[in-house]
């Protein structure tokens, strides 16, 4: 067990972390908004935590607060992300579909170039020597794990609330939802902000986890990976993004013994899944469950 955690602890925590990032894409998607801005907020949150943990300006805070500086970092990262998401979201969410996706990619790119050029973010090298919350990488499960559980419960409850139903209505038909008295802008911005806050907090937790933070964390490539998690896992179910993240993030590591062939297999999984599983893995499982239920019912002579 101990040896297993030594070897795979980091990977397991990475899977939880990637699941959380996939979830951050799921919230706007549940309101029908294809936003790829998550890596931007992830990077932002990481920078907030990294700067608070290393900059001289915050030294008295660190001395006074001790370990409590970490929750404070998460809180501030979440707040900063929420504020920025609101400012960006109000104009950007006037765009629809592919145009919104493009605008959010541009946002991620702007943030990246800004971070590359600021002195406080350490330029291209980034920020390093970030103080640690836990000795071993596996220890970080104690912060990422609870966050994932909270996010899942939140998302489960949200789906069944007034707000969640409004999200769904907008996803199905924005005009119809508007006609029924739902304010689409309000709910679209809300879904965008929820996703951003989650990504920001995950970023803030990831900075010590990765030991260093730099502008390579929030890139267009990351946007595409998170989108793949959601598409492969299934964007219409709460479990889909998690499934996708766990599968796609663990494959390259589990296939490590195959050396170069691992990238080929990884690519093949992506292609096959997107051709044969249009609603993702979660969608396929759902249909499997439905068809078994039907067959079972017909055997019993029902209907």
């Amino acid at each position: 067990m101990e040896e297993f955690l030594q070897n795979y602890g980091f990977l397991l925590v990475t899977l939880v972390q990637q699941s959380l990032l996939a979830m951050s894409l799921y919230f706007p998607l549940s309101a029908g908004q294809l936003s790829l801005a998550s890596p931007g907020f992830y990077a932002l949150g990481g920078y907030v935590a990294a700067i608070m943990a290393t900059a001289d300006y915050f030294a008295p805070w660190r001395d006074a607060l001790g370990w409590a500086i970490f929750p404070l970092e998460w809180l501030i990262a979440g707040l900063v992300s929420a504020l920025l998401a609101f400012l960006v979201g109000v104009p950007a969410l006037r765009l629809r579909g592919i145009y919104l996706a493009l605008a959010t990619i541009a946002f991620v790119e702007i943030l990246r170039v800004v971070c590359l050029n600021l002195a406080i973010t350490g330029g291209a090298i980034g920020i390093f020597g970030i103080p640690q919350l836990f000795e071993s990488r596996w220890g970080y499960i104690w912060i990422f794990g609870p966050l994932l559980v909270i996010t899942l419960i939140f998302s489960y409850r949200l789906d069944r609330s007034r707000v969640g139903r409004a999200f769904k209505a907008i996803r199905e038909d924005e005009l119809a939802a508007g006609a029924m008295g739902i304010n689409p802008t309000h709910y679209k911005v809300l879904s965008f902000v929820i996703g951003a806050v989650l990504a920001g907090i995950v970023g803030a937790m990831s900075a010590p986890f990765l030991n260093t933070w730099n502008a390579r964390q929030g890139t267009f490539d990351a946007s595409i990976s998170y989108l793949a998690y959601v598409l492969i896992g299934g964007g219409r179910s709460l479990w889909g993004p998690m499934l996708g993240a766990v599968l796609l993030a663990s494959l390259p590591e589990l296939l490590r013994p195959l050396k170069d062939a691992r990238l080929i297999i990884n690519g093949m999984v992506l292609v096959i899944a997107s051709i044969y599983l249009p609603f993702g893995i979660a969608g396929a499982l759902q249909r499997l469950k439905l068809s078994t239920l039907k067959r079972y019912a017909s055997l019993r002579g029902g209907r």
Binding site: E3, Q6, N7, G123, A124, I125, F128, R137, N211
Partner: protein, 389 residues
Amino acid sequence: MRRSVLVTLLLTLCAGAAYAEHVTAPIPVGIAVAQTSNVALFGQEQIIGAKIAEKYFNKSGVNGTPIKLVSQDTGGDEAGAINAFQNLINQEKVVGIVGPTLSQQAFSADPIANRLKVPVVGPSNTAKGIPQIGEYIGRVSAPVAKVAPFALKQALKQNPKIKKVAVLYAQNDAFSASETVTFQETVKSMKLEIVTLQKFMTTDTDFTTQATAVLGANVDLAIVSGLAADGGNLVKQLRQLGYKGIIIGGNGFNTANLFPVCGKNCDGILVAQAYSPEANNPVNKAFVDEYRRTYKKDPSQFSAQAFAAVQVFGEGLRRVEAATKKKITQLELSVVRTELNKALRSGSFVTPLGEISLDNEGEINQKTFYVSQIKMDANGKSGKFVIVK
């Protein structure tokens, strides 16, 4: 019940690897560099260099015991580097690690090796602050601040009348961004004037704006910090638009991949190098001969530094045997790792880079640096670096 399970779990987590493990023969030395992703061009050069070093060293081995290179791909990101390091340390039980390729990856993965007390030698990490990560972290790649000034001195030798300087750099490349700071400081310390400072991206292809700015500023010297593709195109467009002065290239220009990009416009570029295939010592001769035999070209700095990194581990192991008067395979793994780290920091090594040593912090002390000028063939297709004295 549930609590007791949790407590035992926590206890086992805290206990760590306390039990004794011995080093196996052949002695495993890890190499974690980028074999995939966009950094793979460098990583593959490093693997080649390391493999030649393994073969060269195993002619005698560690007093008869051979070393064995175990390689793990880091990819181009931070998480990949951590995974590769943990795999090498915990599963492959290596005595030390050569890697990773990028400085950013080093900042991410090196603290993990340091906490587990595994010596790391960076073959290409040139950013400031790498050896300071911890007592188990060292490098054989001289930091930019040491190498860059040599090219400037050479330019002044060729044209003592230089007064105005243009500095250009790729702002999204960590190496170039830190290198340009060194260049700018050196320019100022030599009482020259930076009249224009231009930024570009490694993904750019059109450099008309930057070239026009340089020409408008009427400079005698242009210093470019970028990678082969973008830097080469920048030089080409600069020359095509009529720039006649001297050009200094940063370390990114230190590769034959530059030649096809700027063609005959590459001619005359000055590059300061931490390594030259023409360096005159027996280890370098053996290395260059072997490299040329297999790949029909001269080795790059990346290969040479990876060779040096593997070599210092090998010779360090010999020193451990000499100091403990025991075979490596009779010692516990944790003891070998600690002793090896001490041995790396004691005395000098004669490598393809010339005579080098690591100071107590793990920083490299390199005796000689080189300045080369690019000489292109008449057809402008191939060229070479010629050392200027």
